[in-house]
Symmetry: C2
Subunit: 170 residues, 2 copies
């Protein structure tokens, strides 16, 4: 099953939509949020678009995927996101991969892997759980370099600022 799930190939359309998610990640970085962006696409239209807002809202649930799923459900008037695809710049965590399962989404496309908590192949793969009542397709590596670079730049700047502050104390 794993091979089948991960065999989805990257299309030009995937790259096109991931650029939208990347733009949202950039917005997050400007607000001091870990730069992750996500959109939900249904019939070639964006019906949910969000970036991480954990710090701004002081809410552990406020990941980009969760906010985008919520918007998409509001738009469709249904908790079922059948025939929808979620694009997200970073591999979903346990909570978000679970939210995608609950939403009955058709497909999840992500940019770069998260070796610390990615739950669609890195530390584990939720879709390998055969007992679950729904399985969505996974496609990874879309604009991978751009998606990881935005995170690297963000964390490098945080380290530089921290280092600068420490130097100023001396």
């Amino acid at each position: 099953m794993k091979e089948q799930l991960q065999a989805t190939s990257i299309s030009q359309k995937d790259t096109f939509w991931m650029k939208h998610a990347l733009a949202l990640a950039q917005e997050a970085a400007q607000k001091g949020e870990v730069p992750v962006g996500a959109i939900v696409v249904y019939k070639d239209t964006i019906i949910g678009a969000a970036h991480n807002l954990r710090e701004t809202h002081q809410d552990p649930i406020a990941h980009a995927e969760i906010l985008a799923i919520k918007q998409a459900s509001d738009h469709l008037g249904s908790w079922r996101l059948e025939n929808c695809t979620l694009y997200v710049t970073l591999e979903p965590c346990p909570m978000c991969s679970g939210a995608l399962w609950l939403s009955r989404i058709e497909r999840c496309v992500f940019g770069c892997r998260d070796p610390k908590s990615g739950f669609l192949g890195s530390i584990s793969n939720l879709m390998d759980q055969e007992k679950l009542n729904h399985h969505y397709e996974i496609c990874s590596g879309v604009l991978e370099n751009e998606c990881s670079e935005i995170l690297r730049t963000f964390f490098r700047r945080i380290r530089e600022r921290k280092s600068q502050k420490e130097q100023n104390k001396i």
Copy 2:
């Protein structure tokens, strides 16, 4: 680690708080929602209380745990629910066990197991993932019979109504 995590014993306090979660599950049933209730307790005070609202809100994210965590974060003005305990009538699913991890909660106490999608021991245990940067204590089986009975009654009534409708058609 697993043995240590699951060794937490049930106290009278746990039973006391679970009764609150059960009352919320009962409210959910009356609204036609799958009866699951959850509360977040901090310093012997309830700072988040909710029941499942998936159908009412048509929102796949609107599980009792997620709504209770959101309320608790709003109350504390922080996404970190350190020193908090979540009580929930049913074993958390992948999304909710992940949300608890992200919230840095100290402890999760649940009533009955969910053999189809419980992610704190049934189909898998998120807390067995050693790479995660936080692990919370798990305590299961608090008012187990009451918590499972409310679900059994709910689903039996749904089946009876369905059967009645089919008979009326004949």
